[in-house]
Symmetry: C2
Subunit: 335 residues, 2 copies
């Protein structure tokens, strides 16, 4: 290990609206030294996720806000490069929570050892990781689709959406996905095998578009977007339909809140259930998820795509790209 | 029985916006004659309910729309005045579905015999009837409050709200009610025994008002109103809170849909469940409801109030009054 310094990305200002690269700064610090029982991890990949936008606000939420002047954090995959005792070996691949930096020291409590033989290590940040578990729990436990039902997924070509679409197909559902680019439509149709996909930027009316693709209405809506997508889904929901509210990315950069769905009152007449969820409340499902997903991947039943940006200095651009639809599948930064 | 004619209220035009009395017409028809196995019922009370506004629209819903030129219908309590065989005796009090008319013939299939000794017969249109069951199911099965939690009820002095408030108190909850008149605030505090009640027309900010009364946040919101009430409730909901969506009366007379809650995205961060329900899906709970409610009434634990308008010719005015807050508790028309 020739390097003696570690680069990290700090929050420079709390962003207003769509984050700019100038809201972040690249800093250089000495590589920390592990103490007794600790390990030094060199990151290989870090995750950028839409939920991180909320952590850039100075308001209480389900995770601690990021602090101005401090490095950001988040999901990452790295390799142990020094081990001062404990159960970790140099060379172990680990899933951690100290992204946005090249090196970090850990006592191991928040590390998970990962198996590089099952899938490429970065998959543990995507389909085999938090986005995959989010899709699994949100669809199966919150949405509860039954075979033959119609599942509509927004942001269908994202890290979560791609997995939702494919698990829904495995459940025997009709699956319709909305996404924002022609190549994503093609991937959803040709690789993920959805029944219908469309580019929402190309359609005049989302409600009319859904009418075409959901002739029997929508039973489960997996909500990643909010706004017009939510309104159109409400219009087409069947009685006793379920909405799994995973996120509403269209609202994350608003400086003044936009109005909500004008047709929310349909939730009464149609007896809908709208349920927000956060994956970290459902870690009791992780073992079953991991078991199922490993089998599905091994059998070639779940496919995925990644958008990989090289260099920690480009992590802010990768993050900002999430809100512009720059990613197909999981957005990752490779160090 | 000296009368030979029966008066009935027909829908003259489909209302636009707040219904007007001119949207209805009073008609006179001969009293019908019961055939073999049928009974003739003379109505004593009829119910007017907010849900009837939806039936005045020509659109599919969970109940058949009313037809222009035809009599309206709805919950009613009457007395059998002729019986041509079958199990019914002249003098029996019956709960029926043919309101908005003085007399009707029935084969008995949709009649329920009621016990005038337990409570005044019109109570079967209110606390012991559909509004009571709505409150019971919506609070206990949809809202699922636990002792010590805070329950917020909008339209708290209405036929449903009054019952919700009192059942929530019986569950050991802190109960906060919103209503639209000082006498209703007083009734809620002094008779229903809620912990706090306020007149929403007198407060500058519903969100600030709720902050005063719900120091520990809101765990269950019983939604009867929509609009600003829903937004303020979303602001104060605790994590894992439940919203029982019973109705949204503030929207029923809109000619163009108003915007929805600007803060609905809080449902994700707070992991809220919003669930619409309709009482007719929950008739399997009727026996348990009736058992519990009978005991509560006999023990003096549930109180109620009625606003009674005399004369079928005034039924349209009674119905319209629901949207103006003319009623305290159940709105009834006495024949």
């Amino acid at each position: 290990m020739a390097e003696t310094v570690s680069r990290e990305i700090r929050l420079k200002n709390r962003p207003v609206g769509l984050p700019r690269e100038s809201d972040f700064e690249l800093a250089t610090v000495p590589i920390p030294t592990p103490g007794a029982g600790e390990v030094l991890v060199r990151n290989l990949y870090m995750s950028v996720d839409p939920y991180m936008r909320g952590r850039m606000l100075d308001q209480p939420s389900y995770v601690q806000p990021f602090q101005v002047g401090q490095p950001l954090d988040g999901g990452c995959v790295g390799q142990v490069v020094q081990s001062q005792g404990g159960k970790w070996q140099v060379g172990d691949y680990v899933l951690g929570r100290k992204g946005w930096r090249e090196y970090y020291v850990s006592d191991g409590a928040e590390l998970t050892k990962i198996d590089p033989n099952l899938a490429p290590v970065q998959t543990y940040l995507g389909t085999l990781g938090m986005p995959g578990l989010t899709a699994y729990v949100g669809l199966l436990d919150i949405g509860r689709p039954r075979a033959g039902e119609t599942v509509f997924v927004s942001a269908a070509a994202g890290a979560v959406g791609t997995v939702v679409c494919q698990i829904a197909k495995l459940q025997g559902c009709r699956v319709v996905g909305s996404t924002g680019a022609p190549d994503k439509v093609a991937w959803l149709q040709e690789v993920a095998g959805v029944d219908a996909a469309f580019n929402y930027k190309d359609v005049g009316s989302l409600t009319a578009e859904l009418a075409k693709h959901c002739p029997n209405g929508i039973d489960v809506y997996f909500e990643n977007v909010g706004g017009a997508h939510l309104e159109a889904a409400l219009d087409h929901m069947n009685s006793f339909g379920r909405m799994a509210l995973c996120g509403m990315i269209s609202h994350y950069n608003e400086t003044t809140p936009s109005s909500g769905p004008h047709n929310l009152r349909l939730a009464v007449r149609k007896r809908l259930t709208l349920r927000g969820f956060i994956v970290s409340d459902h870690l009791d499902r992780q073992a079953q998820f991991y078991n199922d997903m490993s089998l599905w991947i091994a059998a070639g039943k779940i496919k995925w795509q990644e958008t990989i940006i090289a260099g920690i200095e480009n992590a802010p651009r990768a993050f900002i790209g999430l809100f512009k639809g720059d990613n197909v599948g999981k957005m990752l930064v490779r160090f």
